[in-house]
Structures are given as structure tokens and as C-alpha cells.
Amino acid sequence: MTVSGGEVVLFWVLAPLMVLAALGLLFARKAVHAAICVVFVMISLAILYIAQEAAFLGVVQIVVYTGAVMMLFLFVLMLVGVDASDSLVETIRGQRFIGILLGLGLGSVLVGVIAQATFPPSVGLTAANAETNPVALARILFADYVFALEVVGILLVTAAIAALVLTHRRRLVPRVGQRQVSDAKVAALAEGGLLTPLPAPGVYAQNNAMDTPALDPQGRPIEHSVSRILRIRGQERSADRILAAERDVLVEHEPELTGRRFPELAAGTDEDEER
């Protein structure tokens, strides 16, 4: 069996990129970047499978690994928090050094063994794949490996149920529905609760912001029309001062109007507190 020139080119293009992406998994600071690197490795592996006369496995690789497994990884990453990055504190002293040493050692041992070993001359799968790869695989899978296939089916079902059980959360407090919320609101009416939503903040000629209180029909500022947070921080603006500022502008620019709009001004009294 001879390897075609196209496959050689494909291998030498993909292999360095795959190693780089795998190193990306090792060194990427963010988990999402690592996941993308692994997706690249898996898609490249699928291409290599197809080049190696394993068309069925290539398709399964894409569907199962990049399509299901890696998407599951990304889902869990979103659930756990995308920003969850590694801590750089070594809990075991010298762990990084020992780990790199062991990794390099394992790699050199494996590569050395493969380089030393003599392999039989390659046969190729042209004969075995005579009636297409999936059909030939199915003949083996459903003849020699029927029992293993059944066991693997049971394993998959068990794993699915296990995942359901593991992520199941028992409800500790009774569910609060629409009905319960409305009952609670009505019950709270006696202690000064509100049935309606809180009033919106005030809109003035010169001010339209979250920190300005609205005025009620009597012209008094409504306290809870301003966000509770702003009130606690003391960042609420006083309605009186806004009105006074607006009145000053009016007096300055439209003196003839002031008599109509602000009768107390025209009379010469200054009773701001009344408003």
C-alpha cells in the first residue's frame, strides 16, 4: 500500500496545526479558548480519519465529538462562568516542574517506542472496505460485537439517568407563583404596601433623571419614586431645588409670564416651602 501525495501534504499541513492547538489547550488562560483549540484538534482528527479510509469514524467524530461533546463542554463553561480562569498558586510545591517533566518523559517514551518498533508492511483497507466502509463496519459491529453493543447501549442510558440525578436540585422552599405574590401584596396593604408598581421618577422642564422625585397631585415630592439604592446612598435630588432653579430661569427670561405661573412671586412673597 502506498500513501498518496495528497495525503502526505494533508498530514504535514494538519499535524503541526493540531499540535499547536493541543498546546493551546495546555497554555490558554481562558477555558473558552482551550475549548476552541480542542474543537480544532477534533475536526482535524476527523479529516485525518477520512483520509485514512475510515469515513464512518470521521463523520461520527464530527457529530459526536465536535457536535455533542464539545458543545456540552461549552454549555457547562457558560453555566460555571466564562471568566473562570485558573489560579496560578501552586498547592503542591514543584507541581508544574514535575508535570512538565512527566509530560515530556511520556511523550519521548511513546515517540521512542514507535520509532524503534518495526511494523509489518501496511496492508491498507481497500480490500476490507470493498463494500463501503460503513457497511463493512456494520458487518463486524453487529456480528462479533453484538453483546458489547448492547452493553454500551445500557451504559449510555445509565449515564443519561446519572446526569439527570446528579444535576437534579430538590426544591427546599415552596414555589412562589403569581397567586402567592398577589396574596402577599394584598396582605401587605395594611402595613403600607402597594398593589401597583412604584411611581416613575419625575419629569421637569430641565430635569428628566432617575434621581429626581415625582410630584403628587398636591405638589409634594413622592419619596419612593426615586430608586431605593439612590435614596440610601443620599444621591437623591430635592424637588424643591429643581423647582426653584426652574423658577429662577423663568424669572430671568420671561418676566411677564411669572405673574401668571407663580402668583406668589408676583405678590412679592417668597413661600417656597408651601409648594
Binding site: 499540535v19 495546555l26 508544574r96 515517540v111 501496511s122 449515564a159
Partner: protein
């Protein structure tokens, strides 16, 4: 080109996956390292299958994929369960039995 080049690539990927498991502390990245190792063995299976002209290697690789899928489901469920109780996905924080 010899088919051994594929085996060497698989060996390198396996070693990188193993190093990831040893070095990283984020449980999800550790898990991806395991996936990388499983994929590297699959590449070895497929290459040997082609070398010997025997499709049994591809069937075994198929089983490895199925088992890896089941493993991912359970493993990620465990990670999510741990994250819910401990608010962390770091393997260093799961040391409740230590003290």
C-alpha cells in the same frame, strides 16, 4: 510517508493531553485533556486498523467514542454539582476530606 507518522502525532497529542491533566487546575480543562488523550488513542486505533487491513480497530475506536461520550456526560454533571455546592470549578478546592 510511513503510517508511523500518524502514530507519532497520536503519541504527541496523548502526551500533551496527559500534561494538561497534570498541570491545569480548572476541572473542565482537565477534562478536555482527558478527551484529547482518548482522541489520540482513537487515531492510533484507526492507523493500526489501516496498517493491518483489519476493520476491528475502527470498531474499537467507535466503542471508545461511545464510552467517552457517556464519561463526558457523567463527568460534567459531577463538575456542575460540585460547582453548585462550592462555587468553584478548581480541582484544588475539592479537598473537603483532607482536614
Amino acid at each position: 510517508m510511513e503510517l508511523t507518522n500518524y502514530l507519532i502525532l497520536a503519541a504527541i497529542l496523548f502526551a500533551i493531553g496527559a500534561t494538561t491533566v497534570l498541570l491545569r487546575r480548572n476541572a473542565i480543562i482537565v477534562f478536555m485533556g482527558i478527551e484529547l488523550m482518548l482522541n489520540a488513542t482513537n487515531l492510533t486505533f484507526v492507523t493500526f486498523s489501516r496498517m493491518h487491513g483489519d476493520l476491528h480497530g475502527q470498531v474499537i475506536a467507535f466503542f471508545v467514542m461511545v464510552v467517552a461520550a457517556a464519561e463526558v456526560v457523567v463527568g460534567l454533571a459531577i463538575i456542575v454539582a460540585i460547582f453548585r455546592t462550592r462555587r468553584s470549578a478548581s480541582v484544588d478546592d475539592v479537598n473537603l476530606l483532607k482536614n
